[in-house]
């Protein structure tokens, strides 16, 4: 078991992340910028928490090429994302889409700010008990 684990570790964890290979980049700099931005948002499915842009796994390379082919075919970022999700599922997106089941993920920061703001507002309007206590000191 330990040996198996060490083996898995040595494959997935210890391989340094090395980004794209020579010759992969598109000649059009604007398309290439879009390709990089998209690649950073797509998860390499055989790695541990790496984007396909950071990974040198076979699958990541294929997906990078897939993204670039689609870009050259003139598709939008949204269409490409959808195509990748259709293939691999939502798990592949590092930035989850805004949907009912991700509502709390996106709304919580805002909710906390609002609750915090409301709490602070009430606290500032209610100075009574604190003053009483200060007198006792």
């Amino acid at each position: 078991m330990i040996i198996l684990r060490a083996f898995i570790l040595s494959i997935f964890l210890l391989q340094p992340a090395l980004a794209i290979d020579p010759g992969e980049a598109l000649s059009d700099p604007q398309l290439e910028t879009r390709a990089r931005a998209l690649s950073l948002e797509l998860r390499c499915l055989v790695c541990q928490n790496q984007s396909i842009d950071d990974s040198d796994a076979e699958l990541a390379r294929d997906l990078r090429q897939f993204v670039r082919q689609r870009l050259q075919a003139g598709e939008t970022d949204g269409q490409i994302r959808e195509a990748v999700v259709a293939r691999y599922g939502e798990f592949v997106l590092f930035r989850p889409q805004f949907a009912p089941h991700t509502f709390l993920l996106w709304a919580t920061p805002l909710l906390i700010m609002l609750i915090g703001g409301f709490w602070a507002y009430r606290m500032m309007r209610n100075p009574s008990s604190n003053r009483a206590e200060t007198r006792l000191d």
């Binding site: 090395l18 980004a19 992969e24 984007s51 939502e90 989850p96 919580t108 920061p109 915090g116 100075p127």
Partner: protein, 654 residues
Amino acid sequence: MTAELGHFALILALCVALVQASLPLSGVLRDNPAAALALGQRAALAQVALLLVAFVLLSYAFVRSDFSLQLVFANSHEAKPLIYKLAGVWGNHEGSMLLWTLILAAYGALFAWRVPTANTAPSHAMPPRFAALVLVVQGWLGSAFLSFLIFTSNPFTRLDPAPYAGRGLTPILQDPALAAHPPLLYAGYVGFSMSFAFAIAALMNDARGRDWARWMRPWILAAWVFLTLGIALGSYWAYYELGWGGFWFWDPVENASLMPWLSGTALLHSALVAEKRDTLKRWVLLLSVLTFSLSLAGTFLVRSGVLTSVHAFANDPERGIFILAIMGLFTGGGLALYARYLPRFGADGGFALKSREGLLLANNIFLATATVTVFIGTIYPLVLDALDMGKISVGAPYFNAVFGPLTLPFLIILPLGPLLTWQAGRLIAPSTVLILMALAACLVTLGLWFSQQNISLIALLLIGGVLWLATGALTDLMLKLRPYGLAGLARPWRLPSAAFAAPLAHFGLAMMIVGIVASTNWRGETVSAVSAGDVITISGTQLRFDGVRQVEGPNYRAEEGRLVYLSGPHKGTVLAPQRRFYEAERSQTTEAAITTDLRGHLYAVIGETTGDKRVVRAWYHPFVALIWMGALAMALGGVFGLLARRPKSAKLAA
């Protein structure tokens, strides 16, 4: 034999910790606090001594490469340099938990040793009842973690027969920065056990006053300094070791350390309000409990293997459940005591937004939101998966999308806090200075807007905000130093260290954000397959590739590339990136070659061969060093804050 002694010392330490957790408590309950304290103090000192014995014996086994110990066999090798044999002690689960427990006991013992009761001015004295309760809480924590060690993670397990050679330490962990990373991180995590213990003692003691907030602050500050340094060191290591210059991956384990840091930063600031203004006490107590819970959660997330991540190198569900139980016990217990005794504390409030305490409260709302964001982003995929509602990933793009807009208003209010007085909220700085600060920030933002093409709006606004923060911090420093005049500046070592604390920490934050924004927005990158003699151009700099040679290290073989600068002030400088192969561990690492110039880092690595050519990757990371220099400045600000407290405690020790 030494291993059995170590094991025995651990068991004794558990017995002592159990005594520390129980007898002083009964002393306190029977109204004999002086005796309770005296016993607690002795127990705390005995506990740390025993743990030190265990730790030294384990280190000795690593240094001697005693492969009859399972742990040494699995994590060490004779061919390793001495420093990594030592670092191997905490480069694994059992040893690092022993270090965790040792640091916990050390904090308790330090408190027991310096507790300000006898021989002090009455105004500074801590009631024995309070001090005894702090030691009781530390005793409970020690008992829990020692049980965890002894029953699930014994570092002294023997192997029979002993193997001839060990398996070695994962090569990417064989690095000076990573040798120091866990001890610093743990000193940070565990340091928050002190504010937790103080909060529990304050809750159980009929504490109408606010002295506990003053007693608590140096411990929060110390924990915060360690945690800042520990996280920064880990980030710097990832930057040069993982091979392409990323410094933060929003990886679950990184998030686990960021959460207590964020809430610890909030605690640091709100404890100041409790100490100076006698309000926000309920919030400070809650935050103390939660910050330590997050430290425990950090340990849980890393050690249980619930999360897949780059660092989850030791995991075991059984241990996870044990740590989960410890976490539940202390978080649940802390919150129960909080609910029970809260009515003793007056309601928070009684101040205006436009005052230093008002802005510190706003700071806490931002930091709390940031903490919750990291928390929800880390556990959301787990919860969704557990509820069978789908598998999603939450990664860097999510956190960047939330943190950008969250940081901006935070940067705008931050420098105003120190420039307002407490209570009345009078502006300390002349308003012309504020106008100039704002003008400078706006001008630079507009200048960048027109001169730079590929820059996102949020990056632009953040740079403006950071300039406002940096000039604000300098103004704060100048106002604090003004009373000492030029004569004071001529002898800087005589200036009060308190004056430097907040300005330095705030300036450090500004440096860090500039580093993050600049290095992500203006990064240059090139990937090419080259033969000897070919020239690579990266961000206007030309490098000639001179081929690859073989080199021998102490416990590895390496391929070393040679790149020579052809232009610029560094002309002639040689970059020598390596790919190392570790025989004993059968794995490889990439060692980047980095040169620093005024604007940033040139970062080069060599890759595999393709045909007769070699893949060479080079990056230019502008201003990236500011990230870690900023962290260092923040930590230094914390150290100045601690030094400012010294005169009082020196009096206590006398």
